[in-house]
Symmetry: C3
Subunit: 351 residues, 3 copies
């Protein structure tokens, strides 16, 4: 159990309070009690800091006359993420290799592994050190798995895929299935384009549950260092997702999509084939990316800029009102046309 | 094989016809023949009741001079669902526990189980009575599985998840993977928020194939009694779905979404983080729930009311026509401005 | 290693160049070097054909004064697909049946199989010849699997499903889970409609990773000959997808959807229950199919024709401008009404 002073140092926060306080857990603001560190970023929580029973509260700025221990950090949410890791991360312990492991010829295993029961590995696979493989994992021939990587239950990895170090792959995900490319022949039957490439997942990536990351046609499908995917995401053949890009659930990248670094892509987004998304792009949920997107853009709807889409979307909701206004103008125009006609008739009659 | 009188009583329908008729199957209106009970709710079928070869026909009201056995029920579809269960449900028979079961220390098994081959269970797990576990199921440490629950092939359940009684989980589904929460650090690298909560699935839930239900950050992700999920559904960390709510395929609930009781949520719907959906809400397919939704609402598009969305959607299809009308008005305005200018010029000239 | 003349004949292309050239690989235009056949369909590549180091280049028309070996084909992409198959397809080799196969009573196995470790098959299943079953595959009672079919890791097939010949099913896919049909009872609890039908997947289908294809209520869910599904696709109970139809990732077909032959359905499309889609229909990504679609249509948005949707979508982006124009007209109308009022007042005053 660390003292508050140590925790403050570890997470990069400034302590205003008692350095000798014991802290053992991270908790939400509403559930925190003695021994807990918590987070107050919303105004509603900051107003109630004095009533909190937490032993320390992470905030972004000092609070005058505060009775509680405060941890002040420029980015309190980041400091809180680090506090949770400090207090709750379970230190890795090697469980060994279950005796029922099936591994093909030429496969080499690193040291200090945790290979659970019912794991199946093909030929000439290289497994790094301290790798955890959960039950039902299947790894194909000639794959590589880097050190400290965790692969959860029932993940299927096809042949010739490279997984980096410190990668986490959640249960049920499939890596390296064939890309979806067919050409109709003279009779309309679909002829399969064989996929000769593989998949390369670089260090520090995390991939959610039940995703599907296809192998490349020629060359690899690539997830660069630090990419984080949520659940149920489709990554088509030869996609290339840039460093530290995060993607929410049920998004689908068509074959050949390229995304830059540090993008934030929300859920249920779809991309057209071969589009290129720049660096630091934000894509709003359910958007369709129909064409290339420059660095730093915010995109929504069918490839619109977010601001333009917001305006369109508000007006879309107001379309019935707009049509009523249009109809009113048409009525005015009709009346005025009639009046003119009558006046012109009158003046003609007057002649 | 029950007699028609017994079936009528079991399903809560009133019989008009021969109580001693044998019925052995439920069938669709078009395929039903002797020995079958069927359903006629559409007008087209009701008109043809006399031509049906079924031994009994479920309808919502008596039909005069009808030559067939009728089962009259206020809700014939519900009565038909019960008839199918009565005639076709397979009575549970315990198959025993396959000798290859791997179960960790401290795990306890109920009685009359059906544990198929290649099931892997962690430590300190509690399995109730008459539970069915299909091949490839993996259950993590400290989980609980209630009585009469069926878990299909290759389902992965992480540690510390609670599954109620009479729950059905279809194949490939993943329960308890980490929620998707990251905070970028000073260098733009994503720092993982560890997830300390679990998942709680209450009694009588059914979860489709290849779903992903993430564990909570602090506290549990909850599916309350009787929730029914279709296939390929994403339930983010700390979601809370209310009793008897049904959700169609490919819908994604972002972290912290709350839904009330008896909601009907269609396919490919997405929700923003932390939105609250009331009771008895209906959400149309592909809608985006961007803000809180009051009880009893019907929602479509980007969080609009269904009626407003329908009008907007019709006008959206008519936008080219609306623009033509706008252009016509602009032409009139231009002409009339010209006329005024000429007249004013004329009158000025006349001066 | 075939000579170029043989390859030309196999893939149905006309050779202009040296028939004795050796070719061993297919490669992209940008990576091809000696010994490779490649494809030049884009103008940019055709302009650079002379600079290519490839041993043969597939094009759609002769190029004058070209220094390279050309393979001329009416459909060069199709010819290239065939060239990849000719040069890279791995000839099937039977690996035998792993000793740990678990198969129920009455199950029969064809000859020359490749059954990997940890496969589980139920009772009375019929497996054809030269079938490949990867680790973790589970096949339920009374299923049939045709010859030359490949089922990848951790696929789950429920009882009573029929899989044709030369079918490929990618990892993690679930076939035959219950359809999603419930009827609320008097207290709002959902009563399950039991599903008595199965699934029938005809010859030459390919199904992507982590799909879910539900069994029928009465009668089967059907994928007809040559249907190709991408990853993460939902096929509801009693759907019927026509021959040679291709479907991209994350699309969901509601129960009872019928699609015709040779349709091209993009990603994240959703259909309403019981809609019928004609033959040769194209559906654009993220569209919603809300009603029946005639043969040969191109559909986008909420069931609009593609052309109409394109126009609406452009105008939708321009809605702010349209509203500005409307406002301008209203201003004119206001001014002119005022002018008339003043004039009429003036003339009245003049009286």
């Amino acid at each position: 159990m660390p003292k508050l002073a140590e925790l403050a140092e570890t997470i990069g926060a400034e302590l205003v309070g008692d350095p000798n306080t014991d802290v053992s857990r991270a908790q939400t603001f509403e559930t925190a009690s003695e021994g807990d560190v918590t987070l107050a970023t919303k105004a509603a929580f900051i107003d109630r800091v004095d009533q909190s029973r937490a032993s320390a509260i992470l905030v972004s700025a000092p609070i005058e006359n505060c009775s509680r221990n405060l941890l002040i950090a420029k980015n309190p949410k980041l400091a809180f993420a680090r506090a949770i890791q400090t207090l709750h991360a379970i230190r890795y312990e090697a469980l060994g290799v279950c005796a029922d492991l099936i591994a093909g010829e030429g496969t080499t295993l690193g040291k200090d592994l945790s290979v659970h029961s019912r794991v199946t590995i093909g030929r000439e696979v290289v497994i790094g050190d301290r790798v955890t493989l959960h039950p039902g994992v299947v790894i194909g021939d000639r794959c590589k798995v880097g050190s400290d990587t965790v692969i959860h239950s029932n993940v299927s990895i096809y042949h010739d895929c490279k997984i980096g170090s410190r990668v986490i792959i959640h249960a049920g995900t499939v890596i390296g299935a064939d890309g979806f490319s067919f050409v109709p022949d003279e009779e309309g039957h679909q002829v399969k384009l064989l996929h000769l490439g593989g998949v390369r997942i670089e260090d520090d990536c995390e991939i959610g549950a039940n995703c599907a990351i296809d192998r490349g046609g020629f060359g690899d499908t690539v997830l660069r260092r630090g990419v984080k995917l949520d659940n149920l995401i489709q990554v088509g053949h030869n996609c290339d997702l840039g460093e530290d890009t995060v993607v929410a659930a049920l998004t689908g990248f068509s074959g050949g999509t390229r995304a830059g670094r540090r993008c934030v892509i929300a859920g249920q987004v779809g991309t057209n084939q071969h589009v290129t998304i720049g660096d630091r792009v934000t894509i709003i949920g359910q958007a369709g990316v129909t064409k290339d997107v420059p660095d730093g853009s915010v995109i929504a709807g069918m490839g619109q800029s977010y601001n333009s889409w917001r305006r369109s979307q508000v007006l879309y909701s107001n379309l019935p009102e707009l049509v009523a206004r249009l109809r009113q103008l048409e009525r005015i125009a009709r009346v005025s046309a009639q009046t003119s006609a009558e006046e012109s008739k009158k003046s003609t009659g007057n002649d």
